[in-house]
């Protein structure tokens, strides 16, 4: 059979002022009909550029792409007519209902009425959106929005479906659903799918994976082949490390295979040198926290405590209330009930003390992009009352440990994702806070960057810093000393990783997580 996509020596370079960005360099691959091909790589690897070239939305500098037999440059119009394309930010109309959105896309594609009536209920059913047809799209959760976008894109029954990071920022449960829907559609309608993702663990859902890194195609293999690469190393690797309580190497996975491909070796497991001591003083204590928004209770009687030197993970599906809990702990919003003790003192009454003693890295880049790196550092240092020699010392320290020195004069917006994250970290650590809050700080980061990031976090925890994180990467949650899983504002599981795995009857934390989260939804549905 003819390949659906065939890409020959494709290159695309962007020039922006004095910067040259080689987004895609000499990439060649083929996509066979009736398969799901995953395009994997961290943020900035060139996934979106490659996808836009395939869809005929970007003109390559050299090389060529043929999609469904059409040349991407000469026949881009034909490609756009017959390919179902779902960009990162799909154009849903937030103030229209689910049904109105679907109808609009059906009309835009000129779907006949009979077709619409036979197909839409099936798609709604499969996506479990049938009950929500009259809800405004803007009021759906992140996962539901993505499913609605998928329906809108699937409605025209495309031969080829191209999806650009459909699962970014979506929780594990909704991600599993999305992948299952894609698989079902491929099998029933002999559709071909090209889908990009930054989550390495999603490779398992693909028939074939293209691994992209810094614009280059690193591998074009099946997920099993990639995994084996990692396995081989692990066999030689660290049996000894496995036995210690703080072995932090993820078991043989796609990610270890990726590391093997990239660096030629599987790295040593990360270790805590100075494991947390239960007798360490409590840094933060939350008791019966309640937060309501109108009639809706976002957080319902959650209690936990974080000790010095402890890494505490807050997990849960989208909308489970973890961000709300997080914000209440940082004094960004006020709790309706319950108490939060910060270093033994009530949080509400000691705001200045609290703010002087926490470091905070937000989910998305939230430093000032229009001023330079050094101006950002100086500002945040000054914000904590640092000046003169002391400020310079801390800035020097941050630049050295985070390798920022060569970018000091660059506007922060021009940094790459990874360096933006480093800068955010630097700004959060300038004042030596005893507690650090990280809100999905690693989403979209590549395995190497994530590893470096965790190395730093572990070192900080060793020095006695309390760390509170939220994350969608469950393999990262394994680095935590304690985790708490939330659902619908309530605590549904907590304890060490091993305890939670036991509570969830799963082989891995991910299975346990899915079991716990879906089990509690069933018990709730009963009465």
């Amino acid at each position: 059979m003819n390949p659906v996509i065939s890409c020959n020596h494709l290159s695309k370079t962007f020039r922006e002022s004095d910067q040259v960005i080689r987004a895609v360099q000499d990439v060649s691959f083929e996509v066979q009909p009736g398969t799901i091909t995953g395009l994997l790589g961290p943020d900035g690897a060139g996934k979106t550029t490659l996808i836009r070239c395939v869809c005929g939305l970007l003109r390559p500098d050299s090389g060529s792409v043929s999609t469904l037999g059409y040349d991407s440059v000469k026949q881009s119009g034909r490609i756009q007519e017959s390919v179902g394309y779902m960009p990162q930010k799909f154009g849903l109309y937030e103030n229209m209902t689910v049904e109105e959105n679907i109808r609009l896309y059906a009309q835009l594609h000129g779907i006949p009425k009979e077709d619409y009536e036979s197909r839409v209920p099936m798609l709604l059913e499969r996506n479990r959106l049938s009950e929500f047809t009259s809800r405004m799209a803007g009021k759906l959760s992140g996962g539901m929005k993505q499913k609605l976008a998928l329906i809108c894109a699937l409605i025209s029954r495309p031969q080829l479906m191209v999806l650009d990071e459909p699962t970014v920022g979506v929780d594990v449960l909704a991600r599993r659903e999305l992948w299952n829907i894609l698989r079902q559609t491929v099998e029933e309608e002999s559709m071909t799918v090209l889908v990009s993702t930054a989550y390495m663990d999603e490779a398992d859902y693909c028939d074939r994976t293209l691994i992209l890194f810094e614009g280059k195609l690193l591998a074009d293999k099946t997920p099993v082949e990639v995994k084996e690469l990692g396995n081989r190393q692990e066999a030689i690797g660290s049996s000894e490390a496995n036995s210690t309580a703080y072995c932090l190497l993820p078991t043989a996975s796609f990610e270890t295979g990726f590391m093997q491909l990239l660096t030629g070796s599987v790295p040593e497991p990360l270790k805590r040198n100075n494991p947390v001591d239960d007798s360490a003083p409590e840094m933060i204590r939350v008791e019966n926290l309640v937060k309501r928004f109108g009639d809706f209770t976002a957080v319902n009687r959650v209690s936990f405590s974080v000790h010095r030197g402890e890494i505490f993970g807050l997990l849960g599906a989208n909308g489970a209330g973890k961000t709300t809990t997080f914000r209440a702990m940082c004094a960004l919003s006020r709790a309706d009930e319950g108490t939060i003790l910060f270093d033994g003192k009530p949080l509400e009454k000691n705001l200045e003390y609290v703010r002087n003693n926490i470091g905070y890295v937000a989910q998305k880049f939230s430093l000032y992009g229009d001023i330079t790196v050094i101006q950002n550092l100086k500002f945040f240092g000054g914000a904590y009352g640092l000046y003169g020699k002391k400020l310079q010392e801390r800035i020097d320290w941050a630049c050295e440990t985070l390798n920022l020195t060569e970018f000091l004069k660059l506007p922060a917006a021009q940094l790459s994702m990874g360096y933006k994250r480093r800068l955010a970290m630097a700004c959060a650590l300038l004042h030596n806070p005893p507690i650090l809050f990280l809100d999905e700080a690693t989403s979209g980061a590549d395995p190497i960057a994530r590893r470096e990031f965790w190395k730093r976090i572990l070192a900080l925890a060793d020095d006695g810093v309390a760390v509170v994180i939220t994350t969608h990467f469950l393999d990262e949650a394994e680095y935590c000393d304690k985790i708490l899983i939330m659902r619908d504002g309530c605590e549904v599981a907590s304890g060490t990783v091993a305890q939670v795995i036991a509570q969830g009857n799963g082989a891995t934390l991910e299975d346990a997580f899915v079991n716990i989260v879906s089990r509690s939804s069933e018990t709730e549905a009963e009465p």
Binding site: R327, L332, R355, S366, D370
Partner: protein
Amino acid sequence: MRILIRVYALLIKELCQLLTNPKVRMSLFIPPLLQLIFLGYAATMDLKYVDCAILDYSHSPASRELISCFTGSPTFHVHEPLVNEADMRERINTRALQLAVVIPANYQQAEMGHAKATVQIIVDGRSANSAGMALAYATNVVNNHWLEKAAKRNRIRIETRAWYNPNFNMQFFMVPSLLALIALIDIMLVSALSIVSEREAGTFDQLRMTPYSSLELLIAKGFSTLIAGGCQLAVGLAAAMLWFQVPFNSSYALLTALLLSFLGSSIGIGLLISTLTENQRQSIIVMYLVAVPFAMLSGMGTPLESMPDVFQQAMIINPMRHGIAALTRIFLEGATFWELRHSFYLLWGIAVGSFTLAYFFFVHRRNDG
């Protein structure tokens, strides 16, 4: 000490954002300067050119004398004479003429005191503003003509002088007013966006995590805008004095004090808008909702005295009004602080009042998150 370091750091950051970015810097200085120069020439209330024609039923030496007053005036462009009233109606309808003068048949007799006669001046009222001015000019021409004739007999003359602005140059009034207008809109916008833009960019939460108190945040925001606005006004002032040669008869210290007070009150209102709105779009809409009436009812385009009393009272919260009143007096009249104290007090009142309100709402929202 710590507070000073913190506020200083925030101030530097704000100024970096406003002044080191070439694009922002350009938009802060170049367009206002161009606006000032263009509007300084364009937005004038002097009528330079009036199309008119005369319907002369008298055909006498006296009427020809009157007509020559119009043809001799630089303002009036006298078209070929009108034939009859139908002709006049037709030409005004088609906007060929803006104004017509009808001289009655017994004009000469009347001038010699033997009869009563009425000279009629007809204007196109569709454009009320210029019609009013054309009418005033034409009346002036006719009256002057008669007064001159009378003066020959009894040797009494009228001599007019415009104090503070000898040539009655509208630019001398308009340019300082424009300066205030442009600064008002620009600076109010910058401050109205200052908090919501951080809210939108997601940097606001990061800022809230730092030990800044609400007051420190607002003061640093307001103060940095004040500095940027001060720079902008300095450039505008230089243009007003060097380019337009607007006479300046006062002290620079007083002028600076006035401009800072004026900026302070505009920034206070801008910050208030910024704390009350959710996003930049809302902020811009509210900003214009406030700025347009402020500009229209500032006494710049229409005389303050002709507004209904209620509006005159309500406009006490309009910094534009006090700013323009005081600015033109400083420029043209060389007024002292004591003479302008009421304008100053009102501007300070507006600044302090709006800032306090902004602070109140800001604290309220900050803790509520």
